[in-house]
């Protein structure tokens, strides 16, 4: 199978078939990134389409000596955040403190038990992420989906690296609190698994 970088080179030379293959390979991952940040299916699809058009326009900037995936995913992140800013949404990564009041105390964890399987928690988290405010979703997507370093996140969001640590901390706390609440609402004990 032709690698992504060669396809990009072919597309750069005007081979539309090569570009179509790139679209097929990356549409899911790009859409997923956009959706996790935007949180709305139709809007995410529109932005995903915009991402691929930008990629097409900027192919000449792609260094085929490097990996294609990080390049296109970075465009996806930047395009999505730009789209948010165009909507005049404030993307300043300020967090609503009500989301991060720590509902989990040490006493809750004194007697840890296995209460759910990982896939159950994964399902919960997927649900919870989409219910988080946009700013939390951005941070979580950049850190845990894109696996960006603090420096890279700082660059994308225009904040300091030190700030990134604080934001990640708050986003994670918010995520935990939200799923713990859901566990309680559904009558499930929110205790720590004894082992992994």
């Amino acid at each position: 199978m032709i690698n992504d970088e060669l396809l990009a080179a072919k597309a750069l030379g005007g081979d539309l078939g090569a570009f179509e293959e790139l679209v097929n390979r990356y549409k899911k991952s790009v859409f997923t990134i956009v959706y996790r940040i935007i949180g709305q299916y139709q809007e995410a699809e529109d932005i995903t389409q915009e991402v691929f058009l930008i990629v097409y326009e900027k192919l000449y900037q792609f260094d085929v000596g490097k990996k294609f995936a990080p390049w296109i995913h970075r465009i996806a992140v930047n395009t999505t955040i730009t789209a948010l800013r165009k909507k005049k949404k404030v993307v300043n990564v300020m967090f609503d403190e009500t989301y991060i009041q720590d509902n989990v105390t040490g006493s809750d964890l004194d007697d840890p038990q296995v209460i759910f399987e990982r896939n159950e928690l994964s399902s919960f988290i997927n649900e919870v992420i989409m219910e988080l405010p946009e700013n939390y979703r951005i941070i979580i997507a950049l850190r845990y989906q894109m696996d960006y370093s603090n420096g890279e996140i700082a660059e994308v969001l225009g904040i300091s690296k030190e700030n990134v640590e604080v934001k990640v901390h708050r986003a994670r706390k918010a995520m935990r609190n939200l799923y713990m609440k859901k566990l309680v609402q559904r009558g499930m004990p929110h205790e720590l698994p004894a082992s992994r």
């Binding site: 080179a9 997923t32 058009l53 000449y60 928690l121 988290i125 720590l192």
Partner: protein, 364 residues
């Protein structure tokens, strides 16, 4: 480290982003605090679930790709479909198409032209006096398309270059070794070659390119080589050696080269049906113009060409020789494809001017 401090670092710790010093402090605290240890376990459990969640991709509309492809014409096309100037000294972008052309030219120089310079140092071949315009700004070249009068270049969307006069197009280059009495080698009348209905396109690739080390076989007048294998191996070549080549798909015998409007100090030193060699009487620089069939590259040859081109450039860089520019011009009309390759240490603009002044004509 106390529990509050540990809580501040817990996500960085679980994401393995803590410094070694903080990591050690954190773990020392964990060894004595069951609550924080439990929180770390929970956090890691969440991490696993989070990553699993993030690895799950989402489906898009099944017509998504078709919509993207349909929307593409409205977007800007990739640059290389029009004109692309590549400067490998700044960025090594292996543009396969360029690499093939570059390697072809390099191959020609390394196998075909050895010794040429030495043989040509003392040549003194005059070009017809009436066709000695100076190198000048050539708008049609800078913008990149073929006009209907020849291999003049202009960019897509610009008007065609003005048609040159017949007197300009009919340049005769004589061998000054015979004091201009011997014959013309080439005559320029490109209009007769190119159909009026043709809509040729051109691509340009340019590379910084250090001086060639292995030029010039015996490209004596009268040599009638038909391929690279017919070219003698060469010795050495001056750093400021230049070469111009034109690769054609039409039978060689049907096409000839017209170095129309070359500066007057460039005089024909020798030529064959495929290769014409000029000597700059003022500077001693050499110009070689070759005509060879052009074959479309395959994927394999593209890869090999890319490697070859890079090797040459790296060698030259290591030798700290003066950088030389390489200019490739690919033109199509009717069913023929042409590659015009220029290698020189001239400035980009000057080289572009020269490229626009080289024309093709039917062989006599």
């Amino acid at each position: 480290m106390n529990c509050q401090q540990a809580d501040n670092y817990i996500y960085e710790y679980c994401d393995a982003r803590l410094s070694p010093e903080l990591m050690q402090e954190f773990e020392e605290h964990l060894a004595s605090c069951e609550t924080c240890t439990n929180l770390v376990i929970l956090t890691r459990f969440e991490n696993d679930a989070l990553h699993e969640c993030m690895e799950t991709t989402m489906e898009v509309d099944e017509n998504f790709t078709a919509r993207i492809m349909a929307a593409l014409p409205a977007a800007a096309a990739p640059v290389l479909s029009d004109i692309q100037i590549i400067k490998p000294s700044r960025s090594w972008r292996p543009v396969a198409y360029f690499a093939v052309v570059a390697a072809t030219t390099v191959l020609m120089f390394t196998t075909v032209v050895p010794g040429l310079f030495d043989q040509m140092q003392d040549k003194n071949v005059a070009v017809h006096d009436s066709i000695q315009p100076e190198l000048r700004e050539n708008a049609s070249l800078k913008t990149g398309k073929i006009n209907e009068d020849g291999i003049a270049l202009q960019s897509a969307g610009t008007d065609t270059a003005e048609k040159e006069s017949d007197s300009t197009n009919r340049n005769v280059i004589t061998d000054s070794g015979d004091s201009g009495n011997s014959a013309e080698v080439i005559q320029a009348d490109v209009a007769s070659m190119i159909s009026e209905n043709s809509t040729p396109s051109i691509q340009i690739a340019m590379a910084d390119y250090a001086a060639l080390k292995t030029p010039a076989p015996a490209l004596q007048r009268g040599i009638s080589s038909t391929g690279d294998q017919a070219m003698p191996k060469a010795a050495s070549v001056p750093d400021r050696y230049r070469s111009y080549s034109v690769n054609l798909v039409k039978p060689i015998e049907e096409v000839s080269l017209v170095p129309d409007n070359l500066p007057g100090n460039y005089v024909l030193a020798s030529d064959s049906e495929e290769i014409f060699v000029y000597n700059d009487t003022k500077t001693g620089k050499t110009v070689e113009i070759a005509i060879r069939p052009y074959a479309a590259p395959t994927a394999n040859t593209m890869a090999k060409a890319s490697i070859a081109a890079n090797e040459i450039l790296m060698t030259e860089s290591a030798a700290s020789a003066p950088l030389t520019q390489q200019l490739e011009v690919i033109a199509e009309y009717e069913e023929s494809q042409y590659v015009v390759s220029l290698e020189s240490n001239l400035d980009h603009d000057e080289l572009l001017d020269l490229a626009g002044q080289i024309k093709l004509a039917p062989a006599q």
